[in-house]
Each structure stands twice: as C-alpha cells, then as structure tokens.
C-alpha cells in the first residue's frame, strides 16, 4: 500500500497531561474511503486521540501524516482547513439558533459585507442536506430537534466545509436503537460518496455492522488492528480487556462462605425525567450480607440514576427500596446513613470531596459523632487530627497530612479518603461506584482489598462499574444495566466477557 492510499497515518503518538499519561504509544493508519473504528474501554485514551486529530490537544510526541504530508493540527480551525471534520460526543450547537445558523457559525456568508446573508446560508444548507440525504429543515431551531437530528446537524457542520476525513466520537452513546440504525445508514451513505470515516465506540455490535477495519486501544496504546470481517466480537472484546489479572480475586475461588440475609432490596424501582422518559425501568435486585453484586454496563445506561436513587439523592417515581428490612424509599440521606448505608460516588471531585477543605475535614464530615470528635457543638481539634492521622496511616494515603487541602493528593489517594470515610462507619451496605476510575494500579489493588474485606466481614456490597475487569475480579454475581434496565443477573462462575459484553450492548440473544 502506498502512502497515497492512506489518508491518515499516526506514528508513535503519545500525550501526557502533566504527570498523567493519557496516550503511551499509538500507531494508526486509515485508508482513504474506509470506515475505521477505534475501540477501547473507558479511559483507554480514545477521546484524547480524537481531540488531537481535532486540533484541541497537541501530542507530546509522535507524528501525524495527513495525505502524505506531516502536519501539525494547531487548533480546530486548522483541523477544518486540513479537511478534518469532527463530530463531538457533546454537541457543540447553539440551541436558540437554526440549523443553518449553526452550520455557518463562525463562517457566516455575508451580504454587502456587513450583514449576514441568511437566505444564502439557508439555501446552501438545504443543498447540503439534500446531497447527503439527511432530512433536516435548515430553518428549524436546533433546540426543538431530537438528539438524533441534532447529531445530524453536527455531522452536517463537519461536512459543510469540505471535510474528507470525518471523525465521530461515540456517536451512538446518546441515540435510541432506531436512531442508531439511521446513523449506520448515514455512515454507509457517506462512505459511498468517498468520505473516510473514523469513529470511536465500544459497542461491538455497531463495530461489526458498519466498519471495514477496527483498531483497539488499551491503556493508551494501540494494541491491534483487524479487518472487521475476519474477527468476532469476542476477539475484539478480548483485545479491549486484555489479560488483566488481579492477584486478589474472588470469582475463581470455590466454596464461598454462605451469604447472609438480604440487606438491600429494590422492588420495581422506576425513575422518570421531566419529559416522562424512563431513566430506570422497573429495577428489582437484592444484595445479601457478605455478597458483592457487581453491576456492569456502559456509562450512561442508568447507573448514575440507580446509585443516586439508592443513596437518597434522587427520588424514584415507582417501587420500593429496603435496607436491612426497613423501607427507606422516602428516607433522607442522613436517615439512610443511620440505617447502615455507605456511599462512594462515581465522581469523587463532583460528589465525593470538597477540594478546598482539608484531608481531615473530608474524612470527618459525616463521622463527627461516631468518632467522638464533637464536644458540644465544637470540634475537638486534637482528636480530629489524631483521627485523620490514623486513617492516613491505615489507608496508606500518600502525601497527606491532616490539614493539607485534599486537592493536593493524587487521584488514587483522594479516592482512598472517600473510601476511608465511608468505611469508617462499617456500613451494612456499601454502595461503591467506579471505585478505581482515574486511580493508579497500586491504589486500585488496595481499594479492591478493602472492598473484599468488607464483604468477608459480612457486609453487603453493591459495586457499579464500567470496568469489566473490575467487575469480574470482585463480584459474586453480575448484573448488567442497559438503557435503564437491569437485564440479567448471573453468577460469576457462569459469566464470561463475551456474554457480559453482549448484554452491555443490549443484545440479549447473543447472550443467551
């Protein structure tokens, strides 16, 4: 294959943000006119790679060769000039403006030099829509369009200025199944017109449905490139997950001690949003004492809503939640805490910690009474410091002194603060979400050990994670969330990556 057949070639691309390494070494070559998928787990580095191509980030090392020449994509405008059109996962559209106004944002056609030539822009947009067969009204206000339609506006924006290479970042993440089919049709149509398409996904079904080739990224490295026709979903899944072996695992051991009574019970729980869409559909589950129930699933399928419903941060519109036999459906957060619940939220900086407050205060914030830190309404400073120092030692929280602001810690150590705080109360039920997201390997292993120790002590653990390897390493039973539903709960010994992976993509039949 000569260079001319490759529209894009990346060699040795790496990217670090300060100390954090997002991409270690990525090689990629994209043939002209093909549909090429980039596949990988969350955090593998796919988005960073796409952002480099879109001109939003600059690589720390490596070369980009576009159409045979080495290029530097300095900013989004340059990317557009080079013929790269980026369709973001989070749409960059102005809701109050029309389709044509959004397409021409920043590049308005002018009338008499001063005014915006709206008629011309509408006409050009109409032409484009017809050419790609998109079925959009150029004068419709974007705010009134459905998600699928808005995505098509985004794609139109990318195509409008002679993009040869179209990049789509997780395009199906926000689409309903019929909209996904529509998109697949659009991509096929574009390919027929000679465009080259690069898109990111981790939904294996779509990879097989539409791509010519697939490159798998894992932990910031490009691991393999396959012709789509010659690999199975299972092969791709295996490349994505790799052979991560966690030394301390539960799944393979025999004869677990028997589980105790049910601690957490959800019965027909449903949650709606303001438009009446169901975010949680009729969820029922039970977690017993001593058991770890792992809920797998791609982010955005209702896991956040589920965890917040159980934690008491969001109301449910139907169903019941029971903790230790007591109904807590209407209970407030402090009431749930007294009933024996601990909650480790999925985003520690968003809900888990106060960045500017000290390590000690973050550790103590819900533990004042229990740790004996209160004297009347006052905080006993010496005891607070001693409490914090002990936790720092016990959890090996590196780089921390009690009064340092928690923002000075690394991600893994911050996570340890959250876990230390929640485990201090030795809750009967521990709800833990994405426990090792953005956490280094050493801290991850420590955290896993703690979670398993809690279960060994007879506590119930509900683990919600999009990291399959983590689910497999820790869970006794595995459930899969898809589109707000809990699809199936299977015993660990009956589960493997292919079955669970298929469930995560909503294909029940493949999992049968």
């Amino acid at each position: 294959m000569t260079n001319a057949d490759h529209i894009l070639r990346l060699s040795g691309i790496s990217k670090s943000f300060g100390e954090k390494v997002a991409l270690k070494h990525v090689d990629l070559d994209v043939r002209r006119g093909e549909v090429h998928v980039i596949c990988g787990e969350n955090g593998a580095g796919k988005s960073t790679l796409m952002n480099i191509l879109a001109g939003i980030h600059q690589p720390t090392a490596g070369t980009l060769i576009l159409n045979g020449r080495e290029v530097v994509i300095s900013d989004p405008i340059e990317a557009s000039r080079l013929g790269i059109g980026m369709v973001h996962q989070h749409f960059a559209l102005v809701p109050s403006m029309s389709v044509s106004e959004n397409v021409f944002l920043g590049r308005n056609l002018r009338k008499w030099g001063v005014f915006a030539d709206k008629a011309a822009m509408v006409a050009r947009t109409r032409e484009l829509i017809a050419r790609y067969n998109f079925r959009l009204d150029p004068e419709a206000t974007v705010g009134t369009l459905s998600v699928g339609q808005r995505q098509r506006v985004e794609i139109l924006k990318a195509l409008a200025f002679n993009a040869e290479l179209l990049i789509l970042d997780e395009p199906t993440a926000v689409l309903t199944p019929p909209e996904v089919d529509e998109l697949i049709g659009v991509i096929a149509g574009l390919r027929e017109m000679g465009r080259t398409i690069l898109f990111i996904t981790h939904k294996l079904r779509e990879v097989k449905a539409v791509s010519d080739r697939v490159t798998v990224i894992r932990h910031g490295e490009s691991v393999a490139t396959h012709e789509t026709g010659s690999v199975s979903e299972a092969d791709i899944a295996r490349d994505m997950v790799g052979r991560n072996v966690f030394l301390v695992g539960r799944g393979n051991e025999q004869a677990r001690r028997p589980f105790g009574p049910t601690v957490l019970k959800l019965s027909n729980v449903s949650m709606t949003d303001s438009a009446g869409r169901l975010l949680l559909k009729n969820i029922s589950l039970e977690v017993r004492a001593g058991e770890i129930l792992g809920i797998a699933g791609v982010d955005g399928n209702g896991q956040t809503e589920l965890s917040e419903a159980i934690a008491g941060l969001r109301e449910i519109q139907a169903g019941f939640i029971e903790l230790g036999g007591r109904t807590i459906t209407e209970a407030s957060v402090p009431e749930r805490q007294s009933a024996g619940m601990g909650f480790v939220p999925e985003d520690r900086l968003d809900r888990g910690l106060s960045k500017t407050m000290s390590v000690a205060e973050n550790l103590a914030v819900s533990n004042y009474r229990r740790a004996g830190l209160k004297r009347g309404g006052y905080v006993d400073q010496d005891r607070l410091e001693a409490f914090a120092a002990e936790k720092i030692r016990e959890y090996d929280i590196r780089g921390a002194v009690p009064e340092s602001p928690v923002s000075t810690l690394s991600g893994g150590n911050m996570q340890k603060v959250v876990i230390a705080r929640e485990l201090y109360r030795d809750p009967d039920l521990l709800v833990v979400c994405q426990p090792t997201r953005g956490v280094d390997v050493g801290a991850s292993e420590f955290i896993y050990a703690r979670i398993m120790a809690a279960a060994d002590r007879g506590r119930a653990v509900l683990l919600i994670s999009s990291e399959l390897s983590e689910i497999f390493a820790l869970s006794d039973r595995i459930g899969v969330m898809y589109s707000g539903q809990l699809l199936r709960i299977i015993e660990r010994k009956d589960a493997d990556e292919v079955i669970v992976g298929a469930l995560m993509n909503g294909s029940l039949e493949a999992a049968a």
Binding site: G352, S354, K355, E361, V365, Y378
Partner: protein
Amino acid sequence: MTAARFKNSVRAMYAPIASILLTLALGFLLVMAITDDPLQAYRDLLFANFDSLGSFALFLNRATPLTLIALGVIFSFRAGIFNVGGEGQLYAGAIAATVIGVTFAGLPAIVLLPLALMGGILAGAFLGWVPGVLKVRLAVDEVVTTLMLNIIVLLFTSYLSNQVIRDTKSYGAVSEMVPEKIWLPALPGVPGATSGIVVAVLLAFATWVVLFRTVWGAQLRASGTNLRFANAVGIPADQRIIVAMLIAGGLGGLAGVLYVLGIGHRFEQNFSPEYGLVGLTCALLARIHPIGALATAIFYAMMINGSAYMQISTDVPRSLVDLLTGLLVLLMTARLATPKTRS
C-alpha cells in the same frame, strides 16, 4: 497551628498584600503629582488617626460597621452565596432601630434597647433571608436580588426619613434623634468612640470559631464549597445556607443598629460612605477569613478616616481614598481569584 498551616496562611496573604501595596504606590504617585508634600500627605492618611484621642475615636467608629459588614459577607460567601447586599442590610438595621427607638421612646431603656437591637438585626436578617431562599429553592441569581434589594431598601429608608420620622427642625433628610437612654456607652478611655467596636472585634473572633471550630461551620463550608458533596454526605445544606444568610443579613443589620445607637444617634439618609461595598472589599481582600477581615477593615478605616486629615494638612482631596478604593477593588480581583467563582 502547625508549621505547614502557618506557611500556607502566610503564602495566602501575598496576593492581597501585594494589591494593597500596589494601590498605595499608585496613590503615592498621584499624590506626588498634586502636592508638594506627598510624604506628609501619606503620613496623615495613615497615621493621623493616632495623633489624638479624638481622631482615634473617629477611626474606631469607622472600623465598627466595616468589620460587621465584612463578617456578614464572609458568612454568605462561605455558604456559597455571592451576597452584595451589605449596604441594604446596613440601612435596614439602622432604620429599624431608629424607627423603634423614636416611636416607642416612652418605654424604659431596659425594654427599648433590646427591642431596637432585635428589630435592627431582624430587619437585616430578613434582607439576607430573601435572596438566600430564592437562591436555594429556585436558583434565582443572588447578585441580582441583593443588588435590587439594596436600592429598594435605600428608597424605603429615604421615604421614612423624609416623610415619617423626619426631624423637621434639622436640615436635610435626617430622622429625629433616638432617645438618649438607649445610646450605647462610649468606649472607656476614648470619649467619642462607640463601645460597639468591642462587639465587632468579639464577633470577628466568634465568627472564626463558628466557621472553623464547630461542626455547623464545617458543614456550612462543605455546602459552600461543593453543594453536591454536602448533599451526598448527608448535610442539610439548604438549611445551613439559609441560616448563614440570616446571620449574614443580621450582621449587616447589627452594623446599622450600632451605628445609630452608638455613633450617629439618628438616621441620616446618606450616612454610609459605601460601607457595604467597602466591607465587601475588606472581606474579599482578606480572602473571606474573619480575622483577616478585621485587619483589612481596620486598615480601611484608617484610610477613610485619615483622608480627612490628609485633606486638611496638605489639601489633597479626601476623595483620593474613594479613587484608591475603586482601584484597589479592580486590582485585587484581578491579581487573585475570588474565593467563589461565579458560574
């Protein structure tokens, strides 16, 4: 305080001190350009406050309302509320105390004084409550509500002082005098200085204790720095924030009460040289730390009071301080990030 915390505190003071020094330096250049004796001008600006007991008293009187308003601002900012309503809360407290004092002048002091005090504090607290509740329940922008309320209150007090409780014997929009029996005593040893300054200083320390040494304070700070976090760990954040706003308004109201009962002894429509805004500046300059705010309020009182002496001795206009204040606010907010970034 451990060594680490001390070092952190010192480092935190660099930026505000730099802003103050830069402003003083620019002011000095200006003063050099307009008078032959700039050193005398600056000397008087800063230190004439201590020349005599009388000037010292006036300086303390300036520091009192400034400190209290700054403390109120600190409570609200720590709750995550960008409260710029200090001026309104000040006026509300002042007018309430005056109206009560004048209307019920017949009551014995032992009843009237607490009544006037409570009335003023409650009036201010109400003005803190409204924007607080609107923000917490409906996410109504608190900057707008507090700014609008400021003006509403000022208009209302203008009405009262012009029409209702006006002292027809005096010139201008001034109220009748508040009965002498409820005047606050002067500070022992400093005739003319109100004992209210003691209240202000004590409250500064009390604020520090409440914010940094109580569970309630820790919960408030958690709510102000990360509301979603506070909710997740079971803190009744809404309650904490609303109470903090009641306190913030109450402190502003108290500033007004202490002014009327301790300094002016009556309500004058324009008694405040922008105490609200200057108090806000003091609080932000001190990075919303109560003891720091006490220090910046004292510094500011020195300047505001000293400007009068500067004008007398060197005829540099006292409005130099107003000019410098504007400059300082601009510089201060540019050199350092404000404690709460508005989204």
